[in-house]
Amino acid sequence: MSTSSAISVQGLTKDFRVGLRGIKLRAVDNLSLEIPRGQVFGLLGPNGCGKSTTLKIVLGLIPATSGAISILGFPSATTEARQRTGFLPEAPYFHKFLTGRELVQYCARLSGVPSAQVHDAVEASLELAAMTEAASRPIGTYSKGMLQRIGLAQAIVHDPELVILDEPTAGVDPVGSAAIGRMINAMRAKGKTIVLCSHLLGQVEQVCDRVAIMDRGRLVLEGRVDEVLAQRDRHVITVAYLTPQARQAAEAALAAHGATVTSITHPRRSLEDLFRELVTGSRDA
């Protein structure tokens, strides 16, 4: 196991026994993964492909059937490893009789934040998750997006080196999602490692340095985002004022060198860019 990795997973397999007869269901199949430190790592895949299961095994919440895992050089499921890790579970659910602030305080205490620092740490993480305003309300009254955000606050209150977020943007509005994206960038700037599970591919593409794609429990692709998305044998040339004559001439000139033009289209902005351009200057931008 490499100590330079934030998370090192080797040959991880997980079988669930389901039903009365205990039929085996392979949720994760011989998965090996190295997640480097200081980067944002996206774990993608369709529903039920084993992402959440993998994360839960990494955190020691469920035992693996076989395989070895280490977190920041410590064997997973040890308190040393979890001391340095923050986790936001998918569709989180918290004690609804506590207020948001009480929950984050409680988590700070459990994570060993020294008493003198609890107050500041709690307020800082509430601020970061944009939950200061609703922090004195009972969690039972929170909306889905607020639950996600208070979940984020409790995950980072002890300033962990590694933050694992399982679908942090599920149920969060576009402005909230963008805020979470910025939070992730801010954490990376502080040298943290972030593991992100998300179905928002656009956002993953923007914030992640590396991605892994899983399908039916297996790893099908892993690499740097710009590398896996770049088509090395294709090029895009953006031209202004392309007349039909100019186009013919250009095609002929390229053909003389053995190159073919495969498509000519208008470049498109992403909806996200257009949206941002139109709404910049809004309170949250």
Binding site: Q83, F87, P92, S111
Partner: protein
């Protein structure tokens, strides 16, 4: 070690807070208090010792019954439901061992049960005292012997009941650690309480010479060892009204056996919980 204690005590604190903020606790407490208070209305022609005994027994019965329900439901609620509704998921991802979590849950629940038992015992003390004052006056008028009750006996009784509820909570915790559904936890927990109440029958049967088969005998022997005797804690009326009839050593042996079962159940629960999928 210090950090461990700290984390355990935080789990216990929040568990306590959760229980206290629930309506169910307040409801049972008020119900039991009403039962203790209503025991005053039970008046007899023979206003002496037997009346006090009846008043005491009635209140003890309420404490015993509602205490058992509270210990069963609260433990299932505060521990099992926490796993089922996945609030435990967030907590167990913290630097916290499973044993610390389980122990914290137990201590928080036990503290709630302590609030229940001691506030009721306090209330009962007041009722017994005021009734005794009345009876003393009446006894002086009729020339009878005035009845009395022992305050320290009542205190020891409260401690014993608290311990008994602790054993019940530890038992339910053990069931929760392996259970898959809330209903299973509550039903098996209730069966364990009933078995504990009836355990002395197995002990008695063993003592009597009989021609029962070896299988029956070994079953009886096993159940008399594995199941705690919950009936042995119910010595309230003797402790309160006739404290000389019971020796300190007998009370201590009940306390030690209770502590033994409590620790054993917690250890088993922690063992079972360690590999549980959350």
């Amino acid at each position: 070690m210090n950090a461990r204690l700290n984390r355990t005590s935080w789990i216990a604190r929040i568990t306590f807070l959760e229980a206290i903020r629930q309506r169910f606790f307040a409801f049972l407490l008020v119900l039991s208090a009403a039962m203790v208070v209503s025991s005053v209305s039970l008046r007899f022609m023979d206003f002496g010792h037997s009346e006090l005994k009846f008043v005491a027994d009635f209140a003890f019965g309420g404490m015993f019954l509602f205490g058992s329900v509270l210990a069963l439901v609260m433990t299932a609620q505060l521990f099992f439901a926490e796993i089922e509704n996945r609030t435990a998921l967030t907590l167990l991802a913290k630097p916290l061992s499973r044993t610390e979590f389980l122990l914290g849950k137990f201590l928080g629940t036990w503290a709630v049960l302590g609030v229940f038992v001691f506030s009721l015992a306090f209330l009962q003390g007041i009722i017994l005292w005021s009734r005794t004052q009345e009876l003393i006056v009446m006894a002086a008028e009729t020339g009878r012997v005035a009845p009395d009750f022992s305050v320290s006996g009542l205190a020891s009784f409260a401690v014993l009941q608290w311990l008994r509820l602790g054993v019940v909570a530890a038992m339910v915790l053990m069931v929760s650690a392996v259970a898959r559904t809330f209903l299973f936890t509550v039903i098996v927990g209730a069966m364990a309480i009933v078995a504990g109440q009836l355990q002395w029958l197995a002990q008695e049967a063993l003592l009597k010479p009989s021609d029962a088969s070896v299988v029956t005998k070994s079953l009886l022997w096993v159940s008399s060892r594995v199941i705690p005797n919950l009936q042995q804690f119910n010595i309230g009326d003797t402790l309160v009204l006739d404290p000389t009839a019971i020796s300190g050593a007998a009370v201590w042996s009940v306390i030690l056996s209770g502590l033994f079962y409590l620790v054993a159940f917690l250890a088993l629960a922690s063992l079972a919980f360690r590999r549980r999928e959350i």
